[in-house]
């Protein structure tokens, strides 16, 4: 359907098996895109692809660890083999470790940096040449509200997301003339498995943690679909003059100082 916002486009989504990635895969497919779902989680990833196919959309799942160069290359190659091109890359895979600089192990620091930042480097390195040949593309990186302002006991996560915001701007500068737009989304607390895992990591009761997360001007946490719609805007031609931007989608959490 030509009326759909991503008609004829191919999108690759990392971390597409759950949460924001899954919601975005479903939304992009319903807007006409062929979607490659890339994730470590085989079962859940296949399930999302099946869900899209059953609804009449086009999707494949490729199991990959986005911290490994060979896995990234394989995921990109398979996507191009199946769908012929990549117009949209959503670097969404991410993890969090709730710990201060004193508490966190070097292993955990490295893991957070590898999944949240280096994966973007590895994926973009593969995909940008394809977008250059196609004379354009849209890259969307999942940063975080904590890529703009920091939070307690999340030192590796904040550092990684700050890196994502500036890496986004740097790539926007380098590839704008090739008609490749690069933007990031800075979600506030969103109702995903990752948010719930933070309560466990901090040793807090989940309901109390979620109630605290809802303390922002809109008085609630976000839904994965709401972040997916922000990704859709950035992926679509409606955002044709938007690049190097950090789109804050956080129910007003960052509007004030506290």
């Amino acid at each position: 359907m030509p009326g759909k916002q991503l008609h004829g486009k191919v999108a690759l989504i990392t971390g597409g098996a759950g949460g924001v990635g899954r919601a975005t895969a479903l939304l992009f497919a319903s807007e006409g895109a062929a979607v490659a779902i890339v994730d470590l989680n085989l079962k859940a990833g296949q399930q999302v692809a099946r869900e899209i196919s059953r609804a009449g959309g086009r999707a494949i799942f490729e199991r990959a660890d986005v911290t490994r160069p060979a896995d990234c290359r394989r995921a990109v190659e398979r996507t191009v083999r199946e769908f012929g091109n990549i117009h949209i890359l959503f670097n969404n895979a991410g993890i969090i470790r709730r710990a201060s600089v004193v508490e966190i192990s070097e292993l955990d620091w490295d893991a957070v940096m590898a999944v949240n930042v280096k994966s973007i480097f590895l994926m973009c390195r593969e995909v940008i040449p394809i977008m250059v040949r196609a004379e354009g593309g849209s890259i969307i990186n999942t940063a975080s509200g904590w890529g703009l302002a920091a939070g307690p006991r999340a030192v590796a996560y904040c550092a990684s997301k700050g890196a994502v915001v500036l890496m986004t701007k740097a790539m926007a500068i380098d590839h704008g003339r090739q008609n490749i737009r690069v933007n990031c989304i800075c979600p506030g607390d969103t109702d995903t498995a990752m948010l719930r895992s933070e309560a466990r990591q901090l040793g807090e009761a989940e309901d109390r943690f979620l109630a605290d997360s809802a303390r922002r001007p809109l008085g609630r946490v976000g839904q994965p679909e709401e972040i997916a719609h922000a990704a859709l805007y950035l992926a679509s031609d409606a955002a044709s003059f938007v690049t190097g931007a950090a789109l804050v989608v956080d129910g007003g959490g960052l509007a004030g100082s506290g």
């Binding site: 969103t190 001007p217 809109l218 409606a238 989608v249 509007a255």
Partner: protein
């Protein structure tokens, strides 16, 4: 259609970004009130929308005057029965450093760009609060985030708009109202050639400066209108207090 059954009021709707947004919102199903100071242009935009099968009215209103802001809102409520979206878009620009900016030019830019946003929001909010829903979009600028040369009053007014936006988002989020700012880079509007003329620059030289950004071009009014549509629609339902930069990468460096 993404704004079906919605009513939008757009200030400065008689040309440029305001006009493009009025046309787009109407195409997406909204009933649109256009306000501005130029009656001929305002009626022409409303007529264009009506001829295309949309619903639009023009109300002559100066955003510097509280009673005219109130009248624009009241008249919109009388004709369309509700107000869902307020786009504070009216703005003026005079290129001056602080040394050559007259007090009159300072007041004009602060009054239209910043106080106009305050007065219109003040007029529209009681109705939105009563219905516990509404969207306000304030047109700021890339120069509301970073400074520019010889634009002291404009930068002050647009920086004010960004923080006014965040402050209103905090106050009225709990009442179900979202408030966001738009920060366009250089866009193909009448404001651009006027700025070149006032700066005594040849249009081609001026334009070359404007296109010096990652995407290598200036924006179109339609591209800003589409950003306003995103902020006006339920697609941005978890966004408030944000400043959406639409500038071809101009602020990335």
């Amino acid at each position: 259609m993404r704004l079906e059954h919605k009513v939008a009021l757009i200030t400065g709707g008689t040309s440029g970004i305001g006009e493009a947004t009025a046309v787009l919102f109407a195409k997406e199903g909204a009933k649109v009130t256009i306000t501005g100071r130029n009656e001929n242009r305002g009626h022409a935009v409303a007529e264009r929308i009506t001829n295309d099968g949309g619903k639009a009215i023009f109300i002559r209103s100066d955003v510097r005057r509280a009673e005219e802001c109130r009248r624009a809102v009241d008249e919109t409520l009388r004709v369309f029965s509700r107000l869902d979206i307020l786009f504070n878009n009216a703005g003026v620009f005079h290129p001056h450093t602080i040394l050559d900016c007259t007090e009159e030019e300072w007041d004009l830019q602060m009054d239209i760009n910043l106080k106009g946003t305050f007065l219109m929001s003040k007029a529209a909010l009681p109705h939105m609060i009563e219905r516990r829903r509404g969207v306000i979009i304030n047109n700021s600028s890339g120069w509301g985030i970073a400074g520019g040369d010889a634009a002291v009053a404009y930068c002050a007014s647009k920086g004010g708009v960004v923080l006014l936006t965040k402050a209103m988002a905090i106050d009225h989020g709990p009442q179900g109202i979202r408030v966001n700012a738009l920060c366009p880079g250089d866009v193909d509007t009448p404001m651009l050639p006027e700025d070149a003329r006032l700066r005594g620059l040849k249009w081609q030289d001026y334009l070359a400066g404007c296109t010096n950004r990652p995407l290598g071009r200036i924006g179109t009014t339609d591209e800003i209108a589409k950003a306003a549509l995103f902020l006006a629609s339920d697609d941005s339902s978890f966004m408030t207090g944000a400043a959406l930069v639409v500038d071809g990468g101009g602020l990335a460096d």
